[in-house]
Symmetry: C2
Subunit: 330 residues, 2 copies
């Protein structure tokens, strides 16, 4: 039996047998290190030609995105970054400049969030491969997990979705979006090449929540907004009604794709690296107001575990929100 016969989910099911069930299954592993604090750890592996390509991003952008993805996983747990380790496999004929640019991009992103590279490994391989492990600290009473959602709570997206996917299309397809102004074009490409992990959202969340002692649910939208909502609902044992009219999509998208396509990219495009949070409605309203910049309440968690995409404008019928448009590794 080969990996392609069982697929990614089949492989994950096998591997999870080797891990403690209570730790695995969120954006980060979280382990109590003392009575009030936990260590949050996350790891990502990136393979040349699979996860990055000089055609769309270049080494600086690949480095930035790799750092951003890991910091975003820490943000999704409510964790303050402590550092990252970087394991790098290069070919003997890899250009030194490629490696330097990759590290420049990675450290440029890390430095915005005061996070050092604290260690690593360098090896030889036929395929350039990077594994980044990020670790951070989180107060136990501030840990954000996928399973904390409750019915009646608001579902918040901390910013616009679909921009990263649009930027990727601009990079891949020279015919696409030729009517865009230069600045708008650049901003969409930047959304793809220089995503920003939303660590900045955490202090705002604590300011709103700390006096209430409530543990909220969340995850990042790196695999798409739909995926994040569905994963949180499953882990929390709730359903959701998500209003397609409330999903924050950059205005500029209407100039390049249909409304339906823009919604598709917002739900399934992935790599926007926003946070998707489930929290009490009154807190959510305050949070969205304080964050601004496209942050929105996109729906509500329900006791019924079905997950619906509804339409408050009454044009489209309700449909079940599906996960299977997301990126499949195998």
């Amino acid at each position: 039996m080969l990996i392609k016969d069982i697929g990614e989910q089949g492989l994950l099911t096998i591997l999870q047998k080797f891990c403690p069930a209570e730790i695995v299954g969120d954006d980060c592993a979280v382990m109590a290190t003392n009575p009030n604090q936990s260590l949050a750890v996350t790891t990502d592996m990136l393979v040349d030609g699979v996860h990055f390509s000089d055609r769309t991003t270049g080494p600086y952008g690949a480095g930035w995105r790799a750092a951003a993805a890991n910091l975003s996983d820490l943000a999704a747990m409510g964790a303050r970054p402590l550092g990252v380790t970087v394991a790098l496999a290069v070919r003997a004929d890899t250009a030194v400049l490629w490696v330097e640019e990759f590290y420049r991009g990675m450290t440029a992103c890390l430095q915005e969030y005061h996070t050092p590279i604290v260690g690593g490994d360098v090896v030889r391989s036929p395929v350039v491969t990077v594994a980044i492990t990020a670790f951070g600290e989180v107060e136990c009473d501030r840990t954000i997990s996928r399973s904390n959602g409750r019915s009646g709570w608001a579902i918040v997206a901390t910013g616009v979705h679909g921009a990263s996917r649009a930027g990727l299309e601009l990079l891949l397809n020279p015919e696409f979006g030729q009517n865009l102004e230069k600045g708008d074009r650049a901003s969409l490409i930047l959304a793809h090449q220089r995503p920003k992990p939303r660590l900045d959202v955490l202090p705002v969340v604590w300011e709103i929540l700390d006096s209430e002692g409530v543990l909220i649910a969340g995850m990042d939208s790196s695999d798409g907004l739909a995926d994040a909502i569905i994963q949180i609902c499953r882990a929390s044992g709730v359903g959701a009604k998500v209003d397609r009219q409330k999903i924050p999509i950059p205005n500029i998208m209407s100039e390049i794709v249909s409304t339906e396509k823009a919604l598709d990219w917002a739900l399934y495009g992935g790599e926007d690296f926003e946070l998707v949070l489930f929290l009490p409605m009154a807190n959510a309203e305050l949070l969205v107001e304080k964050i601004g910049n496209g942050a929105a309440i996109v729906g509500i968690a329900t006791e019924n575990t079905d997950i619906w995409l509804t339409d408050s404008s009454g044009i489209y019928p309700d449909i079940v929100l599906k996960i299977d448009r997301g990126f499949q590794h195998f």
Copy 2:
């Protein structure tokens, strides 16, 4: 300019510019997380055909060795393991059984040291690649670092060296060691396939040292005994006299190779995963007695920064101990 033009050391010099100098350069990164404790983190990347091969070890052994190498790095810092993350890249046509056996081997080793796999990533790649990151806790007054060595201190090897290299030769070369008894043959192969990280040494070290408040130097011998001694001397600004008669080599080696070859394998073979410690002579004598099983004082640190291989039997002249027989990645 390509990686092969600058070599591993050239590449490391470039990458270290991107990391804080005070953190990088030991077996683990160590970061203070509270006044008395630090977090120790280490990462290793393993590539199919470069670091493991079904020809010599098989997936179970490769998994065991990967776990052992990371736990050994924690032991070399004086750290208690908290957990590991595993990032795995597999081909679509990798056998599921290979992955399961790798994880079985890895967890078998980890469980001996009560260390869980707490997270990871699974991706697709043309080359099977594994990145393991291990993290642990270390008391600040127990941190073992490469730079703590002082002249006059004893140099301790916690066990025999060369067995792993002999086991590898038995696996690679069917003509070799045919005169060995079955049990001896198996024990050398086991030294290569199932090395044991010396976390068991740490409680003995603390028992001997805790009342003295002395910070000792050390590293593991995964890249060879000579490499470990030289790295510690360089980081500590001391030299050494290492007595070739004191280097612990399994008796059985004399049946299969010359004395000179056995010494070469002990010094440069690598992957014995013992600890090499620099500590005050009286403490060292007690430590070696308590550990037993081949543990030995192999030399003494000197103020003069030259590193000599001496001979207390008077047969061989003193020679300078060199690092350049070790494994070169590029």
